[in-house]
């Protein structure tokens, strides 16, 4: 069952990811990204990260991507012009990428050849309570710092998006 679910959601994720890249219209890319996020949320659930899964839905799919869609609509961004691959992108980027991915995959398979399979419910400490505990004890300082970061981000966004920016 777990394997099946993994397969389904992994397939969704990959397909949506590819779609993100190949679609010419930003909004299609945005929606496919939302699809990836949804699939990932499901995978998080399989890995026992229920809180992160929910956060993924709420923060990423529910807020960030909505913001993207909103901006795309606002700017009414049309489809891209014919996708011109620059020489660098063609002759350097793609091969490098393949190399990169190949190495990653190889290393992953080599470093952990047969580790115990992932079964749902084997990892119990992904609950909101657990995360909250370590967030407010061990990781208190980073947590507070992120709050400051967000504050700064808000200020920056406001400053940038004001009318009289020129």
């Amino acid at each position: 069952m777990d394997a099946l679910l993994f397969m389904i959601f992994a397939a969704i994720a990959v397909i949506c990811g590819i779609n993100l890249v190949v679609q010419t219209h930003p909004i299609s890319s945005a929606l496919s990204l939302v699809g990836v996020m949804g699939a990932l949320a499901a995978l998080y659930l399989l890995l026992g990260g229920e809180f992160i899964a929910a956060a993924q839905l709420v923060v990423y799919a529910g807020a960030i991507m909505v913001l993207f869609v909103f901006v795309i609509m606002l700017l009414n961004a049309g489809t891209e012009k014919k996708l011109t691959v620059r020489p660098l992108g063609k002759y350097l980027g793609a091969p490098l990428l393949l190399l990169f991915f190949g190495m990653m995959a190889y290393l992953i398979q080599r470093i952990l050849p047969e580790s115990s399979p992932v079964v749902f419910g084997a990892f119990q400490s992904g609950t909101a309570a657990e995360i909250g505990k370590s967030l407010f004890t061990v990781y208190l300082l980073p947590f507070e710092v992120t709050s400051v970061l967000i504050l700064i981000a808000i200020l920056g966004a406001i400053v940038l998006a004001r009318k009289e920016v020129d």
Binding site: I27, S28, A41, A54, L57, V58, A63, V66, V69, A128
Partner: protein, 396 residues
Amino acid sequence: MNFYLLSLIKTAIVVAIFMHVLAYLQWIERKVIAHVQLRVGPRRVGPHGLLQPLADVIKLVTKEDILPSHVNKVFYFMAPFIAVTFALISISIIPFGPEITVGGVRTNMGLTDLNIGVLFILGISGLGVYGVALAGWASNNKYALMGGLRSSAQMISYELPMALALAAPLLILNTLSLREIANGQAGFYLGFIPRWSIFQMPFPQIFSFILFLIAGFAETNRVPFDLPEAENELVAGFHVEYASMKFASFFMAEYANMVTVSCIATLLFLGGWHPIFPEKYGSGLIPVVIFAASALLCFSHAANPARPFDKITLPVFGVLFLGAAGLFLVPPVQFILLPLFWFCAKVLIILFVFIWVRATLPRFRYDQLMRFAWTFMFPVALVNLFITALLVAVYP
């Protein structure tokens, strides 16, 4: 019994009931608004227009499905489905009652129960935006686009106070699973004040309840926050280009969202399926009384009918009501029906408030809407959350 089979059965039941509820919710709304406005409302189709929803459905299905030439096909088709899907998903984790045993099968009323129910609801409701936004954008029509933009902005803005308002009772109840939340509100103070969140110590969540309701209005694009479909500015907003079943599914989505919000409010603030006063004071007889009273009403009306066929219909209803009242007295089903009754009663009351408000209040202006969200709702929700946290910390 097999888990999958059981789930299938439950799903079937819930979906069947839920669809009718949605359909009839619209009838109720029309009736109520009509009476608020001193009209009679639909009454041609069937007795008291009871078959009106059926007629509407037939109409909508059989209508021509116009496909404008200038729309973005994919998203134009996708939008209503997204909307209705995400509207219906959330119902799947809502418990309608306690655990029960039917024919040796022990199950809980409700499709499933997540440890992170509340977060899940939030996430899904967040996703609901896409339906509206996409519809607005795909229609390739400036009114629709305005509607879409408005709704996405509005939903993002009101999601914050909503989440904050939800967080406050969670601090007291100390769980995210809706079932445990409901159970956490069982029992009574001094034997008669229910332990519902809106009464619960150390800090009654009445404020967060109100905040949540307001945010809920906004999230479901209901009056006074129905700017995405402001008829008199945007024609019909995001679904101006939609017809027949697609249009209907937007409608369904809206009502489904209403129901969901009402259910969440009931579960988080009004103590779910727990009665308003203890059994030992006879709270179990309330439904019986209500149904019996309505039956009597029907009979009395049937005695001197306003219309000829009332002589037939009203007694039928009377009998039905009596049957219902009797049903609540039969022990083997009582323990199923009582919680269900309480739950539905609360949900219906909140739904009535929805309709009532729609019948009374005018629409906000867009800037007012935003200012209200950010300068009133948000700070108040924060303060409320802060006070709750403080009190919970002081009196654990």
